[in-house]
Amino acid sequence: MLKRPIRRGFHLIETWLDRLCGAAWNPLSNLGALGFYFYWIVATSGLYLYVFFDTGVTEAYQSVESLTVDQWYLGGVMRSVHRYASDAMVLIMVLHMTREFANDRLRGPRWFSWFIGVPILWLVIISGVTGYWLVWDKLAQFVAIQTSELLDVLPIFGAPIARNFLSPGHLDDRFFTLMAFLHIAVPLILLLLLWVHLNRVTRARVNPPRGLAVTVLLVILAISLVKPAVSQGPADLAQVIEWVGLDWFYLGFYPLIDSWPGPAVWAFGGVITGLLLLMPWLPPLRQASPARIDLDNCNGCTWCVSDCPYGAISMVPRTDGKPFTQQAEVDPDRCLRCGICVASCPTTTPFRRISPLVPGIDLPQLTAADLRERMIEAAAVNPTVGNTIAGNAPRLLEFVCEQGPRANGAAPPAATQVVVPCIGMVPPSFIDMALGRLAIDGVVLSGCTTKGCVYRLGSELTEQRLARERDPYLRKRVPRDRVLLVELNAGDVKSAAEQVQRFRDRLSDREPERTDLDA
């Protein structure tokens, strides 16, 4: 209920951003990669700051001030970049989580990445809190006292931590050494968890496109120069804190800590964390059967392994005595039933005349044989119109991704449609057959955008197969200009219809030709 309007909002903005800055540089399509990018900016700038940072009750503030004022041109800029890139990382993470939630990319086998993402979020917050603590200005004093009082609610510490901040004389230099250690150790643990976060994702994009990366860095630098990060006056434990300028990205929940009783804050945080952790199962995803291997047709080529977006397929030693060393094996807990592996299998060829169409790997709910039947049925509609003849309307066959806007009657059918779980499930050999033996004039593949593909790699792999850059590729005898790959954001129905119409017009203008594609 909540997902649909958020998804529509994202798609509207993404479509607009695609036009403004190009699909490749669209920040909303690169949120995960941008998160990583900000992590490295923060780590690099932090390393520089650490060189000049002094751990001590008075030295901490002085060293940060010296960086900010005496060395404003580098140290000050680095401090500002460190702060703003950290803030941007939180913003990007929240957007990333919201987008994945809206696109329902958290249930089923994808629960793992979401689940790991929740502690990552908390570790980022802890990293930020310890960072603000180190400056030892008035904000640090507020954060230190509030945090320690909150921690003291838990019955796990012998003496109250807040006692360390009773008066200036109670505070020890070693406390700053501990905080500096935490401020480095927590981000390192974070990096480990980021690796685990991507553990079930193959070919993860962890680097944004260069143009986007450069522009992001320039914008962060610009913000740093326009509004340099500064301290809020030295901490003084003999004085109460009246006003503090909060960093709402990291310290946004501190007003809550300030206003609510400690146990209530812990309970609230626990409930929110618990809900986030349980979201992949609210409700659980009902899925069809996972992809299955047919050993009689599996020659251990590994193409399905390299194409599976979620690492659900692995190669294991052969068990059937056939003269191959390996065979594919599907992990049902990781399989998303997208069918991309079916298209990657070299045995998924519709031209088989004698043996039944049973590829080495197949999808039980829509087998390759079913797909061929549906394609033949769709091609049989309006059979009187043959290959492109000037003056006749060209006959189109459209493979439609069921996740995209063209499926389920969201758009008036511009051609006879065959719905597939993902556009990456359509093998190039099927296009070959449609344009040849089935006498179709043009094939349309309506999928999601490369960055917005529900199954991550469907559109990208299809592009590469059509461009003959990836096995199994579109054979050279198939005219590439008779195949249209439409990459759409959901909700971009109008653009899809326009693209199909232009394709249709282009086919109408073609000279009559005789093809003998499946000769």
Partner: protein, 167 residues
């Protein structure tokens, strides 16, 4: 060759996206305490007397013990709970029984409390009982202090330095 038009478009988008980053990095400010407010913060960690006095073991008891554990005195580890009272300007503000920490109840008792007060002259009375006695207090101290606006008056208890100490 970078696409300058797209880069400008992207820069516009990023400025719009990251403008909140610059703004919310320290704005709006949060008011923790009223301007001119003051507070008294009391915290101490102190171990009370042992709950039971040491007892001399009998010869039979000593013989029953393994050779390496034959200590003449049997001294139970558990400590008494501290009784603490804080009065301000003649009014009781806080009264607490502070149990010892530790699984065997042999650790120090802790107290941490923050009490907002008006910035003016105050009479502070602090009482602490840390012995096995049933009533009365072992440490009673009275202070008269002028608390300035914005002051955090810290009070600790250090028996070796004279009891309650103001910071």
């Amino acid at each position: 060759m970078p696409d300058i038009r797209k880069m400008i478009g992207l820069a516009v988008v990023l400025v719009a996206l990251f403008w909140p980053v610059g703004y919310f990095a320290d704005t709006p400010a949060w008011r923790h305490d009223e301007v001119g407010a003051a507070q008294i913060k009391i915290s101490f960690a102190h171990g009370g007397a042992h709950k039971t006095a040491c007892r001399r073991r009998s010869a039979a008891e000593l013989r029953a013990l393994p050779a390496n554990m034959r200590k003449l005195d049997d001294c139970p580890r558990e400590r008494v709970a501290l009784a603490f009272v804080f009065e301000l300007d003649g009014k009781p503000i806080h009264r607490a029984s502070l149990p010892p920490t530790g699984l065997s109840g042999d650790g120090p008792s802790h107290f941490y409390g923050v009490f907002p007060v008006p910035a003016e002259r105050h009479e502070i009375l602090l009482k602490l009982r840390d012995s096995r006695r049933e009533d009365g207090y072992d440490h009673v101290q009275r202070f008269t202090v002028d608390i300035a606006p914005g002051r955090n008056l810290a009070i600790d208890f250090r028996p070796n330095a004279g009891g309650f100490i103001l910071y």
